[in-house]
């Protein structure tokens, strides 16, 4: 305690105080002026291990520990600064080239100025977070110098000086101070070098004799710097744009932020997330609160440099410009194929694009029937870019022959794997090396003068189509955290490692408040080869004729304590990601596949939900308890099914599984009666050759009753837990909801069913939908019903995690499961939401005290937001992985399969092949050479071709297709190619 009472050393009246004035605008558009005091001081150290003067003033925390110094006494040199150097980048350098600073080959001993950190934070939170994690990394030696608080480096803004200029001046002053300060330590003190990509700032630095270089200039002084050159964006000139002639602008100017805010506030403009159609890169849509249906944004000029995912502001176009959504497939690659990356044409819309658009216009004009036209809009500005790093490959056709050999810097196009992202213009010196590689790039800017965005190279992932490169590409594209767990995380694991056991003595603290359920006949049922066993079950008859049923879930929260490094890592990962040949774990292997996993024959900690049920599967009572269990067997679905079906097996364990199966059937019937939907998406299994893990076959998964068995009890456990934690924490329970889809989502499908099949789809409630889906059958075609279910699923909203305080009770409803309240509890090894639910349930049953992180609403909302995104990405990554392996499995084989037309355009149609669970576009030009003429009847969803090939294709039609593999030149992915064989 005494250490806390340090006397106030300096005279408080003699402190240097300065006022800083900030202007900020609030969400509602008001402008506020904030005056704040700044206390200037002289005891902020330079943090160089060479400096003894600063060592004396090193600040200490309340426990009297001094802060260790960061900058090395022997920093690396460059060809110019052989004595060694420290780097001071300006804001612009970090904003445009953060990847560069994260390199392990260079960029050590970096001084991050406070003014720079503040500016980076104001401009981009993700980049700020990356910068902060660099400052925390021990080996990179990044030091944050609070120049704005140090008397000698503080600068006041001069009259008529812009904030930017003032901040640049502050950077230069800090660099100057550092150089003077360090020169006192020794004659051969390291130089302190400013890095900037702003010409103006560099010029002023030169005038003041401050060592300063552009990023490119600096990198060229480094050994092996050449490889880094491509990662550097071009020099920026702040006013460069204004000097250009207005005629050269290809795009309309974006509105200022305040103009957009005013517009949105008085309802003239609308704000929302911009989405690009997966079939047409010139068609975007945006959902805004003021319109029930999404607004269409058509054409390059209206899209006005918005990229998929950006937060934009749009203006609705006059009613006479409202249009139908496109019925045509327009692929960027096909249309813009021959554009030259080095020269920007003076027209925004190329000849080819114009032709395509005119055809579109003709069609819509001829057909515009009232009511079909949708409101259209144009983008007037971007509030927030959602740019990330993109995986792609260099478009071979954009490469000039000289560039493919020399080391001259050249412009090329990169085609992103994500078709919704426009191609990116890239300047690089390594065209020859990068051709045919999967590469990672970022977008730097999209000027009004440039048809395509410009970006820079980040790194190469390897040869196209190699398993390693494609897998990493996939993980990057879906933002899956796949790096090995850092040491800080592994340090949180139990010291005993694999030798950890449930303590033998029941006096051990681990046994506190745990029920001993080791004598119960518990078993687990999972897919073949499952190692991370989250759940196990038991059932037994009670003397009163009822049954006791238990669901036992791995007690992960026993091992993962809130807020430690492992918990933080898991909360960021959010979920385990399953790829065909790889699993990216949320938790370290030791826990996931061993200590937490409810493996058979060993004792494990569990969290149990135990019900008493009557023979009608009505719940008589339920309770929750931490427990110790010993699973008797780990079955696969198939094994369990065989055992149930084999009447000769009359042992107690098998009979208990039979009991579970009987009860689960009743539970399922109850759910269906309540209106639960049975939706489907084809589940595919890729069979691998065990030695080489090359895919050899693709099969749809068979559905077994034992799968339903497990599913039903998991749903029941989730629902029971949801009710319990909501009761205990009405404001902060973590729950999962599935909103009812807006009726308009089904408009098109309902119309299609009515027109083509004379069937009615009623969507008033989930029950009505479930019933009408049951009636959507084609007696001749059993798959038809599944097809409609697949299509209906795509009209649904996606389920989401939320914190109970953010919604009113009726909004909790899970539409698909027809449950009032729901959460995820049963898979804590692979989902973070379940782990949070475990902690809340433990607190609810008073097993342990509530940890603040578990009941801070703000914190939970952030967790929900993240895991919703991660969950979605994990699903997409899993699907993409299957698509890749299906492509590989089909490599060099050609098979004929049955397929169904599930979407139809005026110049092509999409066919789903159930056997492989894949769908693919067949365009008119794929039908025959030359491309046949076609007429498309939008009323009857019929495409009739004539000329080189005559076929009639209708929606829902069964067709025969030849499936082969093909490398998609656009995305560089190997995928399936379908050719129409016959239409039956």
């Amino acid at each position: 305690m005494a250490s806390l009472k340090r006397s106030f050393e300096s005279d408080p009246f003699a402190q240097n105080i300065s006022s800083k004035v900030y202007v900020r605008s609030t969400k509602s558009g008001k402008v506020q002026k904030i005056v704040r005091e700044v206390y200037l001081r002289q005891d902020i150290p330079c943090s160089s291990k060479l400096c003894n003067a600063c060592l004396k003033i090193a600040p200490r925390d309340a426990a009297n520990r001094p802060i260790p110094f960061v900058l090395s006494e022997k920093p690396a040199g460059t060809s110019v600064f052989t004595q060694g150097h420290y780097i001071v980048p300006d804001t612009n350098a970090f904003l445009s080239a953060m990847d560069l600073f994260e390199q392990s080959s260079a960029f050590y001993d970096v001084i991050v100025l406070q003014v720079v950190l503040e500016e980076v934070r104001a401009r981009s939170l993700p980049l700020y977070n990356r910068l902060v994690s660099l400052t925390k990394s021990e080996d990179k030696r990044f030091y944050v110098f609070f120049n704005e608080f140090r008397l000698e480096t503080y600068v006041t803004r001069e009259e008529n000086e812009s904030v930017n200029d003032r901040n640049d001046r502050a950077v230069r002053k800090a660099v100057k101070w550092y150089n003077e300060h360090l020169s006192k330590t020794s004659k051969k003190a390291p130089a302190v070098v400013m890095l900037s990509n702003d010409r103006d700032n560099l010029r002023k630095a030169k005038e003041d004799d401050i060592p300063a270089y552009s990023l490119a200039n600096y990198v060229s002084q480094l050994k092996d710097g050449e490889q880094l050159l491509d990662m550097i964006p071009e020099l920026e000139e702040r006013d460069a744009l204004i000097e250009k002639k207005p005629g050269q602008f290809l795009y309309p100017e974006h509105y200022t932020l305040s103009k957009m805010n005013t517009g949105v506030k008085n309802g003239l403009l609308h704000q929302g997330i911009f989405n690009v159609s997966p079939y047409n890169y010139l068609e975007g849509s945006i959902r805004v609160p003021a319109f029930p249906k999404a607004l269409l944004i058509l054409g390059r000029e209206n899209i006005n440099r918005a990229v998929d995912g950006d937060l934009v502001v749009v203006e609705v176009l006059p009613k006479d410009q409202w249009k139908q959504p496109s019925t045509q497939v327009i692929e960027e690659e096909a249309v813009t194929m021959n554009e030259n990356p080095t020269e920007e044409g003076s027209d925004l819309i190329s000849e080819k694009e114009r032709k395509v658009l005119q055809e579109e216009a003709k069609r819509t004009l001829a057909k515009t029937t009232e009511g079909h036209a949708l409101p259209t809009a144009k983008v007037v500005g971007v509030i927030k870019r959602n740019w990330r790093q993109y995986v792609g490959h260099i478009d071979q056709s954009s490469v000039s022959s000289s560039a493919a050999q020399g080391r001259k810097q050249d412009s090329v196009f990169v085609i992103p794997m994500d078709k919704k992202i426009p191609k990116i213009r890239l300047r690089t010196r390594q065209v020859a090396e990068l051709l045919g590689k999967r590469i990672l790039v970022t977008i730097d800017a999209w000027d009004r003068t440039s048809r395509h965005p410009t970006g820079h190279f980040v790194r190469s992932l390897g040869e196209l189509e190699t398993k390693a490169a494609e897998t990493e590409a996939l993980l990057l594209e879906y933002d899956v955290q796949y790096r090995p767990f850092p040491k800080t995380v592994l340090d949180c694991l139990p010291k005993e490692g694999h030798d950890w056991k449930v303590p033998a003595s029941m006096d051990d603290p681990g046994w506190r408040d745990r029920q001993d359920l080791r004598d119960l006949l518990i078993c687990s049922i999972d897919p073949i080869g499952c190692q991370d066993i989250d759940d196990a079950l038991h059932a037994r008859a009670l003397p009163n004729g009822n049954f006791e049923v238990g669901v036992h879930i791995a007690d992960v929260s026993h091992f993962v304590k809130p807020n430690n490094a492992m918990d933080t890592e898991a909360s960021i990962r959010g979920t385990t990601v399953y790829l065909v040949d790889k699993r990216i774990d949320m938790l370290p292997m030791l826990l996931g596949t061993d200590l937490c996993s409810l493996k058979p024959y060993v004792e494990r900690y569990a969290f149990s939900v135990i019900w008493e049920m009557n023979s009608n599967a009505d719940i008589v009572g339920s309770r929750f308890t931490k427990s110790v269990i010993k699973s008797r067997e780990a079955f696969s679905y198939e094994q369990a099914q065989l055992r149930i079906d084999d009447a000769s097996q009359q042992d107690e364990l098998t009979n208990s599984i039979r009991t579970l199966l009987e009860l689960s059937k009743k539970l399922k019937q109850k759910r269906l009666d309540a209106g639960a939907l049975s939706l489907s998406s084809p589940e595919i299994k890729v069979h691998m050759e065990s030695e080489t893990s090359d895919p050899i076959d693709v099969k749809t998964k068979e559905h077994l009753p034992t799968m339903s068995l497990v599913e039903e009890f998991m749903l029941l456990a989730n629902t029971s837990v949801a009710a319990k934690i909501y009761e205990a924490f009405p404001q902060t329970a973590i729950l999962r909801r599935h909103a009812a889809p807006p009726k308009t989502n089904f408009d098109e499908l309902a119309n299609q069913l009515r027109v083509k099949k004379g069937l009615d789809l009623s969507v008033e409630s989930s029950r009505a939908l479930a019933d009408s889906l049951d009636l959507c059958v084609d007696p001749k075609e059993p798959f038809f019903n599944t097809l409609i279910r697949i299509m209906a699923t795509r009209c649904m909203m996606s389920a989401e995690y939320f914190c109970s305080g953010t919604q009113s009770y009726p909004e909790f409803r899970h539409y698909g499961l027809a449950s009032e309240i729901y959460t995820h509890f049963t898979s804590p090894i692979r989902r973070y939401a379940d782990l949070v639910a475990h902690r809340q349930l433990a607190a609810a049953i008073e097993y342990e005290a509530v940890h603040p992180a578990v009941r801070s609403r703000g914190r939970l909302e952030a967790v929900c937001k993240n895991i919703n995104v991660r969950h979605r990405n994990a699903q997409l990554a899993g699907r993409a992985s299957i698509a890749y392996y299906v492509g590989q499995a089909l490599r060099g084989k050609a098979t004929e399969e049955d397929g169904f037309v599930m979407k139809i355009f005026s110049n092509g149609f999409v066919v789903l092949v159930p056997k492989f669970g894949i769908e693919s576009l067949i365009r008119l030009r794929d039908l025959a050479e030359p491309e046949p003429a076609a007429t498309y009847d939008a009323e009857t969803y019929t495409l009739t071709t004539s000329g080189s090939r005559e076929v009639k294709v209708e929606l829902f039609q069964k067709v025969r297709v030849r499936v082969t593999d093909q490398k998609d030149e656009t995305t560089g992915k190997r995928g399936v190619k379908m050719e129409l064989v016959s239409t039956y």
Partner: protein
């Protein structure tokens, strides 16, 4: 815009450049309004308050509009300490107006009334009222502490007998409640941004002693951190007391030099009881 309070760990510096154990600049004056019995003006950083004290006075036919409730009523053996706070609309960035019946203001009034009643010798003035009127001109955190300090100074100026100064300040912690950071440093004297983002408390002590006259904690914080926060707060109160004392003495010396007070009745000789 400046960084937020999470940047503290980068270099042990707070959002305004202070260390964990440093007070903001305190500037105070007494006898700022000649017409009143006692008056003061006090700044703790950008928090600026003014205080006027009238009384003790026998109750007239009508009593003051608002009473803080400390001490006792007009009929009691002790003087009533009536506190009235007016928060100027322009004092905070959002310019929100607070009415007289605002719960937050009522609570501040009652807290200050009780704090001062603990030091003022109210028993000397039965059936009377001491009216303390406080005006908030600018808010940047530690408002309650600033109000208590200003009221203390004005009471000294008014010459109301009291045991000792009631000196107040705030203390906080460098990381949020949810972060549950065992190693968080305590913080002295929180500004507005820190109060918004971090847990904190207001503490007032009586004179040089460790006797706590006021302890208000409206945020959620782990018990384990409370002890450190309180120790820093109490330590801060002592620093505040020194500053208040210096203001009073300097004013006294000045008054003697100007002849407002007779030589010989030096402040050091003044009997307080």
């Amino acid at each position: 815009m400046p960084l937020d309070t999470s940047a503290y760990s980068l270099a042990l510096l707070r959002v305004d450049g202070r260390r964990w154990n440093e007070l903001r600049r305190i500037h105070a004056q007494i006898r700022t309004q000649a017409a009143a019995d006692g008056s003061s003006y006090l700044e703790m950083g950008h928090t600026k308050v003014m205080c006027v004290v009238n009384g003790p006075s026998e109750p007239g036919p009508r009593r003051g509009a608002t009473s803080g409730g400390g001490g006792g009523g007009g009929q009691s053996k002790n003087a009533e300490v009536a506190v009235n706070i007016v928060i100027a609309g322009f004092s905070s960035v959002d310019r929100k107006r607070r009415g007289r019946g605002d719960k937050h203001i009522l609570e501040l009034q009652s807290t200050i009334s009780q704090a001062l009643a603990a030091s003022l010798h109210t028993h000397l003035f039965p059936h009377s009222t001491i009216n303390i009127s406080l005006h908030v001109l600018s808010q940047d955190g530690s408002l309650l502490a600033a109000l208590i300090n200003a009221a203390t100074l004005a009471c000294v100026d008014a010459g109301i007998p009291m045991t000792d100064y009631v000196a107040a300040c705030t203390a906080g912690s460098t990381s949020t409640y949810a972060a549950n950071d065992e190693g968080a440093d305590p913080l002295l004297d929180m500004n507005h941004q820190e109060e918004q983002e971090l847990p904190g408390l207001t503490v007032a002590t009586l004179g040089d002693s460790d006797r706590v006259a006021v302890l208000v904690c409206e945020s959620r914080v782990q018990v384990s951190r409370l002890e450190g926060m309180l120790a820093v707060g109490v330590d801060g109160c002592k620093q505040v007391r020194e500053i208040l004392d210096r203001v009073v003495r300097e004013k006294g010396i000045k008054m003697i030099q100007e002849g407002t007070v007779e030589r010989g009745v030096g402040l050091n000789d003044m009997e307080l009881d």
